[in-house]
Amino acid sequence: MKFTLSWLKDHLETEATLDEILEALTDLGLEVEEVVDPSARLGAFTVGEVLHAEPHPDADRLRVCRVLTAAGEKQVVCGAPNARTGIKVVVAQPGDYIPGIDTTIQVGKIRGVESHGMMLSEREMEISDEHDGIIELGADAVVGARYVDYAGKTDPVIEIAITPNRPDALGVHGIARDLAARGLGTLRPVPEVSVPGTFDSPIKVTLDASVRDRACPLFLGRTIRGVRNGPSPAWLQDRLRAIGLRPISALVDITNYMTHDLNRPLHVFDADKVEGDLLVRTAIAGETLEALDDKTYTFDGTETVIADASGVESIGGVIGGAPTGCTGETVNVFLEGAYFDPVLTAQTGRKLRIASDARYRFERGIDPEFTPRGIEIATQMILELCGGEASAVVTAGAMPQTARFYPLDSGRVSSLVGMNIAEHEQIRILTALGFGVAKEHGGIEVWVPSWRPDVQGSADLVEEIARVASLSRLESRPMGRAPGVAKPILTPMQTREGTVRRTLAGLGLNECVTYSFIDRAAAELFGGGAQATALANPISTEMSHMRPDLLPALLRAAARNQARGFADLGLFEVGPAWTGGEPDDQLRLAAGLRVGHSGPRDPFGARRAHDVYDARADAETALAAIGAPDRLTVTATAPGWFHPGRSGVLGLGPKTPLAAFGELHPAVLRALDVQGPAVAFSLFLDNVPMPRKAQASRPPLRVSDYQAVERDFAFVVDADTPADAILRAAKGADKQLIDAVSVFDVFAGEKAEAQMGAGKKSVAIAVRLQPTGGTLTDKQIEAVADKVVAQVKKATGGTLRG
């Protein structure tokens, strides 16, 4: 919402300075977004007089002028065709900034002739697009005076943001009312105007049953005949231009002025182009209208329209039609002032994608009771500016009832706001805003004015009082603390997310936060991309589906980083993913990705390519950090985006996977432009069981003082025997004595097969025996070793390597 200071002062009698007004506006909730003070932008330019102009010696189109300026007589070279002796001009001195050409001018030589300044065109001052020549001021302009003072361009333009609850502030009068309530001056009342009709309007209006109850309960109009629709007067054009509107013709300018001045949108039909009477009704599906914005709209049958005998002529509360629009030739007009339902107007405007000043106001709710006065005021303006003769007003429908009251509990106001506002001050504020206040049976009743459709309860009254009383007066008041040591405030799952995050960062991975939506192709690669997870209105095809996993975005991030020259990297993310489109379909995941090598090349040969075991180690470390059980099953059942032979799932049995890990499938890497190798893991945090009960104490530590013994075994097994099977068998050979079993070598491949036979490999394990009752004898050790060999043979068919 834009207006100028002088415009505001039409409605507000005030001694307040601009700064005081701006501060009050923002404080009242009418946030000032911008103030353009033309005198600040153009204030440097002064009036000059061209004493003598002669052709430039070296350039046909340039003229060398002697100009009398505020700084004395100066030589100025000028290219304007109208630069001639005797005219008064606008002069910029060296060092002045010229907004229209974004340049600070200097003393310079133009084709060898010195120039000390510049004479300006309107475009160079950003007043208009006019650039055919320099501005010629009237002879009354005084040399040396500021141009803005001479031209009266000193009226600051104020732009404020209007929250959706304040339709009343969409007119300058409403803004003035707020400022007056704040104590910044006195509200000037809107004049009582009545223009009696001298004849009956030849155009009548009927409200169809389809709109009478809700869409358009009230429609007023009158014919004004014999008008001259020329340009509007300069004061009106200036005001409209100041707020960014283009002056069109007196009739149109008047309706625009009424819209911004009094928040009363109106429409004028060219009465000679209206066929028969007007009917306000719901549109018929398929009807069309060529509107004043030169676009043709087709209706679906829900819109409220104003139609004549030849069809739809206007969209109620949104935009008028071109065929019945006013032009320079218009002599008879029909003026419309109506009330259109906010919700239906909003629906129509949104569906047809029309953003008009009228729609903006009707959908927030204008003051229905002001409709008759609005018609009278507009009629008077039309008669004043265009001449003519007005008919009697035709009225269709009835005034919608808005009267309502709410109780005010003045003590509650102070309790909610936390600021003492005396009851009489609360009443004063509400009264100044136009509310009716009545003390009834010990309570206070507050009646809501017709221009405040947003006030729908006592709580809204509190807001009105608080904002006018000023929240800047609010003083902070401490709150109590619960006694004792604070209780933990995070849920176990929240703690778990934090632990996973910091564990993975500790493993050398960099945390990313990526968008929750990804492109469909990437989602499909990871088992997603279903319609249920699609956005109905994605911002781009790159962000069309809720992600099924965190890895696609991490892989895309890896590809971007590789393109920037980072070949080796480790990324992770902790965040949500979706299995469907319902609120319950959200998963908590953590995923990590390692691409390329363990690090840059180094003199120690430590660099190696990441492999599946790095991903498994990351996953296991993170799972251990959040207290997952330490005996997890490992199965080669990872989803299809992993390498089928180099991936696995860590879980509590087949139905409860806790993590998937592995090398990524080369096809996936290719699709996402990642240069391999790349290994990854996803942790399913929801599946990790919570510890049964928080028990701080641990089982007693049992350590043995007897020497532990380690024995190594190498088994020849079938090449597809999992190492885990050998380890489990060995461990189970003597549960008392065997403390730990680990693999320390695997010999597989062609050379191994050459030694041990086709389809064979060798797995070497170390078995650690920890006696508790006494030192082990050789015999005891032999006995255990035999059991290990026997168990492994039984479980895997493996034999001790010779």
Partner: protein
């Protein structure tokens, strides 16, 4: 016994002269070995008369002990020298960079979320969560934003796909963290103090907007909680977060779910083109807040006649930018390694309100 002094001198000199452990061993064997000179002399004691033996025995024993000690001492010296020589030889180029280790990092959004949680935990706030695909009832209606309210249009809402025939209103990606207010109060009732950090979504993408960003919601409901308490709470938060006292300015505003509503500015300075929080005469808008609307309490089955309280919502990404100086919101979600490493935090840098 004659010649013992010479003998001692001879072997002592030989021991001292031994250049390495092997030479020393040769000397030891020649003197004290089975057939060494001193050993032979001791063996000769048996052939002596008791009187002679009485003199010569202790003298020889003393000599043997002395020489043995001298050998041990010399051996220690030689071992020391050998070690020194070996260590000299083992010298490596310590200016060589070590085996590379990669430093991980925590994203600023996570770090700042943890900071916010730590500060509000100290004030007695629990952390609540809610789904990000949300029903339009929780995201709008329950928050006093009915279907045709203009505020709904200003939310730039993302809608989820709806199958033809499914006539429920489409779900939305939550446009704010406020739905968590309703879900929390429904489940846990009041009084309560919670914050709800998390992802929110708006269909907007330009220099200063991304279609996803992070908010933290605050909700405090009790018997007599007031806007003055809200101001205190926010000032305490900003002081702890920015590490200095920060003045706030409350400006009247409007949100459908609060009444009265206020936008809150914090004190700042733009002197020299650099933003400094907590000094200067300028104001920076950082959050929206207000007293929870009675209709919102009622929607969450809380009696608005009995309870009142405040709510606020602020941008976590924005807080991060203000505190740590990232210039561009879009970079938060771009996963550029250079950015992650520059603006990220160490794994063990866990925010807490005590030291």
């Amino acid at each position: 016994m004659d010649g013992l002094a010479e003998l001692k001198q001879k072997w002592t000199d030989a021991i001292e002269a031994a250049a390495d452990e092997a030479a020393l061993e040769e000397v030891r064997v020649a003197a004290l070995g089975k057939k060494g000179e001193v050993s032979l002399k001791m063996r000769a004691l048996g052939a002596m008369s008791p009187e002679e033996r009485q003199n010569a025995g202790p003298a020889l024993n003393a000599l043997k002990t002395e020489l043995t000690d001298a050998v041990l001492a010399r051996r220690a010296v030689l071992a020391e020298a050998a070690l020194t020589a070996r260590l000299q030889a083992e010298r490596v180029d310590v200016t060589l960079p070590p085996r590379p280790r990669t430093e991980g990092s925590v994203h600023p959004v996570s770090q700042v979320t943890d900071e916010v949680i730590a500060i509000f935990a100290d004030l007695g706030y629990a952390v609540a969560e809610g789904p990000q695909v949300e029903t339009d009832w929780y995201n709008f209606d329950a928050l006093n934003i009915p279907p045709e309210h203009p505020a709904r249009q200003e939310h730039d809402t993302f809608f989820m796909h709806r199958e033809p025939g499914d006539n429920r209103p489409p779900h939305v990606l939550r446009t704010h963290t406020s739905p968590v207010q309703i879900r929390y109060m429904e489940e846990h009732g009041v009084p309560c103090r919670i914050i709800a950090p998390g992802r929110v979504y708006r269909a907007d993408y330009d220099q200063t907007h991304t279609p996803m960003f992070h908010q933290v919601e605050g909700l405090c409901i009790g018997d007599d909680v007031s806007m003055a308490n809200l101001k205190w709470t926010l000032e305490e938060f900003f002081a702890a977060f920015f590490g200095r006292e920060v003045k706030t300015r409350f400006r009247a505003s409007h949100f459908p779910f609060t009444e009265p509503s206020a936008e809150v500015d914090i004190q700042c300075s733009w002197e020299g083109g650099a933003l400094k929080i907590g000094e200067g005469d300028d104001w920076l808008e950082v959050l929206g807040s207000g007293m929870v609307h009675p209709k919102v309490l009622a929607a969450a089955n809380v009696d608005p006649e009995r309870y009142q309280g405040f709510a606020f919502g602020m941008g976590i990404d924005r807080l991060a930018m203000l505190k740590y100086g990232m210039p561009d919101l879009r970079a938060f979600f771009d996963s550029d390694l250079r950015w992650l490493r520059h603006y990220g935090f160490a794994a063990l840098d866990v925010p807490r309100t005590f030291a």
